[in-house]
Amino acid sequence: MKGSPASPNIAIGKAFLFEKHIDFKCFMLKEAEIDNHLRRFEDALSKSIKEISNLIDDTTKKKGKEKADIFEAQLLMLQDNSFTSEIKKEIQSKVNAEKAVDNTVNRFMQTFEKMERQYMKERALDVKDIGERVLKNLIGIQNDILKKLDKNTIIIAEDLVPSDTACMDLSKVAGFATDKGGSTSHVAIIARSYAIPAVVGLDKVSKVVKSGDLVIIDGNSGMVFVNPDNNLLQKYLKISSKIECRQKELESIKKEPSRTIDGKNVSLMANIGGLQEIEKAILSGAEGLGLIRTEFLYLNQHTPPSEETQFLTYKAIAEKIKDHPGVIRTLDIGGDKKPTYFEKILESNPFLGWRGIRVSLDSVDTFKIQIRAILRASQYGNLKIMLPMISNIEEVRKTNKIIVQVKNELSKNKITFNKNIEIGIMIEVPSIALIADTVAEEVDFFSLGTNDLIQYTLAVDRTNEKVSKLYNNLHPGVLRLIKKVVDTAQNKQKWIEVCGEMASDTMAIPILLGLGLEKFSLVSPLIPETKSLIRSLNFLDTKKLAEKALDLSTSKDVFYLVKNFLSERRNKSL
């Protein structure tokens, strides 16, 4: 089964199916039953209040006040008259206590779900949580099982809320797999903060897995295997013990500089797609953020994000990374996942369609709001603007004009911003790579988006199984194109980074380094490993390697060239 990886590494263990289905009947009360149901509700309520108070004390003692704060809000919700009186009112109108609680909880959840801010939306889960607690006490279900988990248990659930994980003995939990949730859901956050591997969004793992099944969770790829055969199990046991060893090694490298043996400094930055990833990036030793995707602000909502929301997000990023660079890529949505507030058009070939800068330049008002927000935040750190999907110089000019307009408006209103903010473009369309010299006059930097550059250069759709094997980082045509752009950048004295997956490909890194690239931006979990590789290389050797690679005629030849190069180097170091 495949889901979204929410917390890295591999867990192998026995499943525990956490079922939360609460069954109750709905019926109309007789006049004489009303008092009884009111009393039952009051009892369940005071029992729930007591439980949460205990939970607050307990959590404060064990995990600190910070973690207990989640339950403070829940306690106040249970004590809130506007909530409890609605339940009582329903009971008085002859709805049975269970149904009255359920109805009211759903109504209150809906109000929160409709709110704009993500952290307000998340309060809906608190309401759900207290609702379930009251219902449990009303019906009489106890959740003591979670306190007595076996060692190395993998928790399988539809979804988990704070009160579920709070009463779990997390030291016994080896992994999580849930039907619902994304990378910011409660279980994902808990899993990452306790370094427990997790996969979420699996759709129906809780329907398929039974307690006691042997489960493998691959928190790196998002794969989950139920009752694997011996081969697969052995494979994962090996990987998992390897990871453990390697992690210990890499931990020690995090504070070392990313420098080749012969002293060439390389800057390793992180790609992020959300605020919560920054902490991880800093911890992994990233020296800045070479690609800040902004789509997370736009997707899954009914209106574009306000200037204020964006400003605060960008400001928070700028402040967190201090003097390190933060390259903000303006909205880059493709035809396949456009939010509802953009015109919906049917595209037979979305990758060659209405995406990236093309959408922004057709929606100038929305685009200006983003530019304004970035400019306003630019005074709080070292932010830069990067434009996606540029295929001709007119798009750069149009965008520069818009940026100047916004700057003038800000100056007029006496709003401060970094007047010299750098503006760069993604090099991901071959046409712009070929005229990099002329476009260089109008921008401050280049960023090689290798995923798209390769797909467009090789005319290969990686998601199409029939042709995906033709996609190759080491195609000599791709390498020559990259060389041309890097040389141009150096001639024109513009800085250049590589932010696609190639920047974390062990086979490609030596060549990229040899071509003259000094700035790599990649997903943060791979930074320590990449640094370790760079620290084992000689820049002068990689230069020769790159020269040789450019003369070869097939990807396969390049692959074996690099393979030999790396194994020779390994033998030398032994």
């Binding site: 403070e72 809000a73 919700m77 952290y119």
Partner: protein, 99 residues
């Protein structure tokens, strides 16, 4: 900015404050706000953009969706109205102990 109307035993106080902590009155600050309000005898309400709610109700406070930089009016009526306003204003101005 504090207005005060003396009325034999009952006081009425009102003030306008700007919320400065990073994410506004989200769960933790909202809970602190409500807890402090509950400790006062006076009846207290909070108003944002013309919508007024009971300061002692967590659902009420959350429903205002108070973000960073929003202005809110706090109104208190009762014996300890003055103290109530002072406590709550301080809490907001101190960014609920954040940072």
């Amino acid at each position: 900015m504090t207005n005060e109307i003396k009325n034999t035993e009952i006081y009425y106080c009102e003030t306008r404050v700007q919320v400065l902590n990073k994410v506004g009155l989200h769960a933790r600050p909202a809970a602190m706000f409500v807890k402090n309000a509950m400790n006062c005898q006076s009846s207290i309400c909070v108003e944002k953009n013309g919508k007024e709610i009971d300061a002692k109700s967590i659902f009420g406070v959350l429903s205002l969706g108070i973000d960073q930089f929003d202005f809110i009016n706090i109104k208190a009526q009762g014996k300890d109205a003055k103290e109530a306003i002072r406590t709550l204003t301080q809490l907001v101005n101190n960014k609920f102990g954040e940072e």
